[in-house]
């Protein structure tokens, strides 16, 4: 593989800039792509070269495979896909290969392999990674099924093979309920879907979403970079992540991380990837799926290991061996990431695009900000509402939380609403502070109303501020009126005229 001297990021916003930062540090030239709508996005200016991939402002899509690969070919750049868009797209990867363009990511085969959840689970089970116990085959013999259920361990979930929407599902807590639950589930399924087939799966109590960062090279080396806790989710989207997980025990961590690294080595995976696990209250963990890309939340891992994952991805894509053996990877302290969205948390997280009239990112110690915005930037309507990621780190989890509070208190954004107040509420939540929270956190442990409630009900300060502002505005209008040529006109006439003017505008 030739050396990579230029990198095109087939992406936008903060992740494009994040990849460019590593390139700039390494002395690698950078290429940005952009749509008409994104002409003023900061990644366009950050790169050494920039190419528009749309023909008109009406087209806001970044999915321009041929054009992107063509630009990479012409400029002599390798392609980093970021996350989303062409990340985890085996077809794009193959097209790069066909065009002789280096793709900074895993092979098409591995992307395909992990693209199907059931396929991925089969491969990982084969490679020795535990998956959620159960059987996908319909239950035919109740005695046989009862025996399997006993092996899996209660509680178990019965699910209709052709089901959906909660119909034909039954949670079974103990063996004596098994038979009756099976009968009702099966009959419900028959009535609802015309087929009574039912299968069973272990039911995970208080499930945690914990993932393991891995990276492999083309020489058969693969290591893990420890775990991340990602259980704080809203509408199945992660909003706060931390490394390491405060919930899992050292023993679980050791097992989970090494089983992940071993499996990755076994399947010959190279570049960065993430194994997502579901972990029960009992610390048992089960493989869910593998993401064959750089994750949004990779910075928390970088903060606790000191390893630049993008840099390693570039080396691996050049065919070089990893710079680290497993024993070189040390954990150091704790890191938390808050995703800052252009959303109004007090209004059911409605999108809040618009012009950033004020944008000051936090400074000081133990901060990492990856942002795709600047003062004066108009956040476009057409893309993901995440405008920045903010990370805090410290020696301890408590220190990282204290730092994050300080950091978010310095983040000044005006012109749009952001999810910052939501994050500040989570950082004060007792369940969050305890470190033992599961994916039901927002639904069960977090009070949305609490967030909207004011810290301070006293209206003195806002009233004084508004009154003075009103006085100043009156003085400005008065001064303007005096300098107008139409001073002689009566107020009523002038009022009438401005109304007419407004109408012709409308």
């Amino acid at each position: 593989m030739p050396e990579i001297k230029k990198v095109l990021v087939a992406n936008r916003g903060e992740i494009a800039i994040r990849v460019f930062r590593t390139c700039r540090k390494m002395g690698i030239k950078t290429v940005a792509i952009y749509t008409h709508a994104d002409r003023k996005a900061p990644h366009v200016r950050y790169a050494d070269e920039a190419y528009c991939i749309t023909d008109s402002p009406a087209d806001t899509s970044y999915l321009k495979q041929d054009r992107i690969i063509d630009i990479a070919k012409k400029t002599g750049a390798a392609i980093h896909p970021g996350y989303g868009f062409y990340a985890e797209n085996a077809g794009f990867r193959r097209a790069c290969d066909d065009a002789g363009v280096i793709f900074i990511g895993p092979s098409a085969e591995h992307i395909d392999m992990m693209g199907s959840k059931t396929g991925a689970r089969a491969v990982m089970a084969e490679a020795g990674v535990p998956t959620v116990p159960g059987t996908k085959n319909p239950i035919r013999d109740i005695e046989e099924a009862r025996k399997i259920a006993r092996e899996i361990g209660y509680p178990i979930m019965l699910k209709a093979v052709y089901g959906g929407g909660g119909k034909g599902m039954r949670l079974v807590h103990k063996e004596e309920d098994f038979e009756s639950s099976f009968r009702t589930a099966s009959s419900e399924a028959l009535n609802a879907f015309g087929n009574g087939d039912v299968y069973m799966e272990k039911f995970i109590i208080e499930p945690h979403h914990v993932e393991v960062q891995v990276i492999g090279d083309m020489h058969g080396n693969a290591i893990h970079l420890f775990d991340r806790e990602c259980s704080i989710q809203r509408r199945h989207q992660k909003v706060i992540e931390e490394a390491p997980s405060p919930f899992i025990s050292e023993e679980t961590r050791q097992k989970m991380c090494s089983v992940a690294a071993e499996a990755v080595k076994k399947i010959g995976y190279f570049s960065a990837g993430t194994l997502e696990f579901i972990v029960g209250a009992d610390q048992n963990f089960y493989f869910l799926e593998m993401n064959t890309r750089l994750q949004v939340e990779h910075p928390v891992t970088e903060l606790i290991t000191g390893i630049d994952i993008v840099r390693e991805m570039i080396f691996v894509a050049e065919g070089k061996p990893l710079n680290y053996a497993q024993e070189d990877v040390q954990r150091n302290g704790h890191a938390i990431e808050c995703r800052i969205y252009a959303e109004d948390p007090a209004n059911n997280f409605a999108p809040s695009p618009g012009l950033l009239t004020v944008y000051q990112t936090p400074e000081g110690p133990n901060v990492r900000v990856e942002s795709g915005a600047y003062q004066g930037y108009e956040i476009p309507l057409y893309y993901d509402p995440m405008i920045a990621k903010v990370c805090a780190n410290s020696k301890t989890r408590q220190g990282a939380i204290e730092n994050m509070k300080r950091i978010l208190s310095e983040y000044m954004v005006a012109g749009i609403k952001t999810s910052i107040p939501f994050h500040l509420s989570v950082l004060k939540n007792e369940t969050f502070l305890s470190g033992v929270y599961d994916t039901g956190f927002i639904d069960n442990k977090f009070d949305m109303e609490e967030m909207k409630r004011r810290e301070n009900e006293d209206v003195t300060v806002p009233v004084i501020a508004a009154a003075i502002k009103q006085l100043l505005s009156e003085k400005i209008s008065a001064a303007r009126a005096v300098t107008r040529p139409e001073v002689g006109d009566s107020n009523w006439k002038r009022f009438g005229r401005s109304v007419n003017f407004a109408k012709t505008l409308g």
Partner: protein, 177 residues
């Protein structure tokens, strides 16, 4: 010569109207009397929407936007909507406020584009029934009727091409009567 004003302040969610006696002592220095309390206020604008306000020694960095007589004020993360009226405006407001009840103007709650139109002028609608769909940041948002009634006017066109149907926050979308 000191500038003086008497204002009436209403804060959304608070019943009581506050009387504010405001005196400009010198540029950026004010005395404010509210209720029994007197406040010494040092007021400076920092940039477009950020103000540094020091009230009896307490320092606040507040974010304030003005729309006519209404002010959105953010203090330490808390959001307040404050209306400031002088005596004249207060009188005018009392005279007119009771007449517009039956006619509801629906405004865009956020910037975006109108992706789909579900009603036409003349259609009957129930309260909560969607009239159109506004898309912002890949998410669909139903624009609902605030009351039972008839859609009398629609001010926007729907289009799948965002450039043909972009709306700003506060743009008039429709009227239900």
């Amino acid at each position: 010569m000191a500038v003086k004003r008497k204002y009436f302040a209403n804060v959304e969610g608070h019943e009581e109207e506050l009387v504010v006696d405001l005196t400009e002592v010198s540029p950026s220095n004010y005395t404010v009397v509210m209720g029994e309390q007197e406040y010494k206020v040092d007021f400076e604008q920092i940039n477009e929407t950020i103000y540094s306000i020091i009230i009896n020694g307490r320092s606040y960095a507040i974010d304030m936007s003005e729309k006519g007589d209404k002010f959105e004020v953010i203090v330490d993360g808390d959001n307040f909507n404050v209306e400031i009226l002088d005596e004249m405006k207060k009188l005018m407001r009392m005279r007119t406020s009771s007449t517009v009840e039956g006619r509801q103007i629906i405004e865009a709650p956020m910037p975006g584009y109108i992706w789909k139109m579900l009603k036409e002028p003349g259609d009957e609608v129930k309260a909560g029934e969607p009239i159109m769909i506004l898309v912002a940041m890949k998410m669909e948002n139903e624009i609902k009727s605030p009351k039972d009634g008839v859609v009398t006017e629609i001010f926007v066109k729907a289009s799948e091409d965002p450039n043909e149907s972009t709306v700003k926050m506060g743009d008039k979308l429709a009227i239900v009567e």
